[in-house]
């Protein structure tokens, strides 16, 4: 995270001599890469992110667009404890129990419709962003033994800066906070519902933070913005 912020500062300083400008009545496409991190109660590890924005500038200030963000990270293993039990407790010799943390890769796709408000200037063009959409979490079918997916509404809010590298290209840095609604952390636990989850040693394992019905996801991305010529009636 510190490295990301340092790079943002570096970019901001180096861009002081650039001449950015807003582009009314034009489409733009932004491919983004970055990192996504979730609040602790979501039990999702930090992951890489790929995103694609398309935006139509209504005016110099306002725009509308769509965004698709795809990430594939891991669930937080230490939050999900299960037991693997071998042998039979009712016969001589008893049983042996392996305590295991269970994790799995999670693919998340967030699709949103957003609006932007930009402050055009000659150097940097900061913007605010807000949107609504849906998220889809696709869990590992091999780990779960079945296809498991979850989708529900998501809300996005964010801010960033954009500046021009050339007539049709630019770089965009932004931070977005995405709220997944009706979030179900138990879904990430492939052993959920098994009797073996009732460990007799609850004091000996860390208790994950209380689950919440929403998950706040924060995205840090660096985007490469391209403005196709003439599309949308602009210059």
């Amino acid at each position: 995270m510190r490295r990301v912020l340092r790079s943002l500062a570096l970019l901001a300083l180096s861009a002081s001599a650039l001449h950015a400008q807003s582009l009314p009545k034009q489409f733009s496409v932004t491919t983004r890469i970055g990192a996504v991190t979730a609040e602790r109660s979501a039990s999702l590890e930090q992951a890489a992110l790929l995103g694609l924005d398309t935006e139509y500038a209504l005016t110099k200030i306002f725009g509308l667009g769509t965004a698709v963000d795809v990430s594939r990270g891991n669930s937080t293993k230490k939050d999900f404890l299960t037991r693997l039990r071998y042998g039979n407790a009712s016969v001589a010799g008893g049983d042996s129990i392996y305590y295991q943390n269970v994790g799995q890769p999670v693919t998340t796709v967030n699709i949103s419709l957003f609006g932007t408000m930009r402050y055009p200037s000659k150097t940097l063009s900061p913007f605010l962003l807000g949107g609504v959409g849906t998220y889809v979490m696709i869990l590992d079918p091999q780990v779960n033994g079945k296809a498991v997916r979850k989708n529900d509404a998501s809300y996005t809010g964010g801010a960033g800066v954009w500046y021009k590298l050339g007539e049709r290209v630019g770089i965009q840095l932004d931070v977005r906070a995405v709220t997944y609604t009706k979030y179900d952390r138990n879904l990430l636990n492939p052993a959920f519902g098994r009797a073996e989850l009732n460990t007799p040693f609850p004091e000996d394992f860390p208790t994950p933070p209380a689950a919440k019905s929403t998950a706040l996801i924060t995205m840090f991305t660096l985007g490469f913005r391209y403005i196709p010529g003439g599309i949308g009636g602009g210059n």
Binding site: N74, D95, I97, V143, L165, P200, E203, D204
Partner: protein, 371 residues
């Protein structure tokens, strides 16, 4: 130049962002954590609960020769007491009148067992007689009693009073006119069927003084066992993981007044014979509360697992670490410990000394005891 600068800055930023996002820890389905656990089940044993019989005289009321109105009581499974004493009472069936038995001929039989050269058990009884006894505090897992007395050995029992109940109480001090609330054993003539021999019931007889909510009525009973046989079957499980031992079990009667549940671990010697016992402690309610159930005989310390009707304890637990039990703090922990027992014990006996009334027992596997 400007373009080159832009590209350089962009490339650096992209590298940094990707590096921050990526992790060298890839997902694995399972990751072992901590020590291996070894478990086995707790099973009901032959219990050795307090039990016996009461043989009533032929005549319900006093006969022409009260001295021949014999009452014979056999007792077994009694815990030895460190305070208080076992006291016998005659009572009528409605339990409105009690008379303490003050002159008893007590025959104590201690039964020891050894193995002969052929490996067969040999039982060696040792009999001790006491006369004119009014109370006693002896007990033990291998000790049986025969009490011979008569109707006229009590005071305050009129000739017209019906002798239909024999009661054993534990009196913490000098007995008064009526037994205290600790009334764990009794037999009633009506419970003997067609004979005059009634099996003794273990539990709580009659209403405490003062009466408490949930108590049986004055002439009612809360029966835990009849002649040592419980009508409820507790069950449970013991698991050892490193230094920690946990027992989770369920389906118990609430202890009779004056009793509580506790647990012991039994250490074996190298030949597999009993070597030592370790007190695991008073039973508690399960995680997360882990409230002591010591007072569950009179009050309700954990309403989530202790019920009034029926008078049962839905779940109990023990959790101990060898850090607090030096005898078990070996390497590996719990080495040579072969048994875990859940006991019912009198509050008037010595806490920490294992009594005879084992309810559940688990034989720890070799993976725990080490041989």
């Amino acid at each position: 130049m400007r373009t080159l600068r832009h590209l350089l800055v962009g490339a650096c930023a992209a590298t940094l962002v990707i590096a921050a996002a990526c992790s060298d820890e890839r997902s694995t389905t399972l990751e072992p954590v901590g020590d291996l656990g070894f478990g086995t089940i707790l099973v009901k044993t032959s219990t050795n609960l307090p039990r016996g019989t009461a043989t009533f005289p032929v005549a319900v009321v006093s006969s022409a020769t009260p001295a021949t109105d014999s009452v014979i009581v056999t007792l077994a499974g009694l815990d030895s007491l460190t305070t208080g004493s076992y006291t016998l009472w005659f009572a009528n069936d409605s339990a409105t009148k009690f008379a303490r038995v003050t002159s008893m001929n007590l025959t104590v039989t201690r039964l020891d067992s050894t193995l002969n050269a052929a490996g067969d058990p040999v039982f060696v009884p040792t009999v001790t007689n006491r006369t004119g006894v009014s109370s006693f505090r002896t007990g033990g897992s291998n000790i049986g009693f025969r009490v011979a007395t008569a109707r006229n050995a009590s005071t305050g029992f009129d000739a017209a009073d019906s002798l239909n109940t024999l009661l054993v109480s534990i009196e913490p001090a000098a007995a008064g006119a009526a037994p205290t609330e600790v009334r764990p054993l009794w037999g009633r003539r009506s419970q003997g069927g067609t004979t005059r021999i009634a099996p003794l019931r273990f539990g709580a007889f009659g209403r405490a003084i003062p009466a408490r909510a949930g108590d049986p009525g004055a002439n009612q009973e809360f029966v835990v066992a009849t002649n040592g046989v419980m009508t409820i079957i507790p069950r449970g499980r013991v698991e050892v993981r490193g230094k920690i031992m946990v027992a989770n079990d369920s389906n118990y009667f609430r202890p009779p007044v004056g009793y509580y549940y506790n647990a012991y671990a039994v250490k074996f010697d190298t030949t597999g014979l009993f070597n030592d016992t370790v007190y695991v402690g008073r039973r508690t309610s399960p995680y997360p509360a882990r409230l002591s159930l010591y007072e569950a005989d009179k009050t309700n310390p954990a309403p989530d697992v202790v019920f009034e009707t029926p008078r049962v304890i839905f779940a109990m637990a023990s959790r101990v670490s060898t850090d607090t039990i030096p005898k078990a703090n070996s390497a590996p922990a719990w080495l040579n410990f072969g048994l875990v027992r859940v006991n019912l014990q009198s509050k008037f006996s010595q806490e920490g000394r294992m009594g005879p009334n084992t309810i559940l027992q688990a034989a720890l596997p070799k993976s725990v005891r080490g041989r």
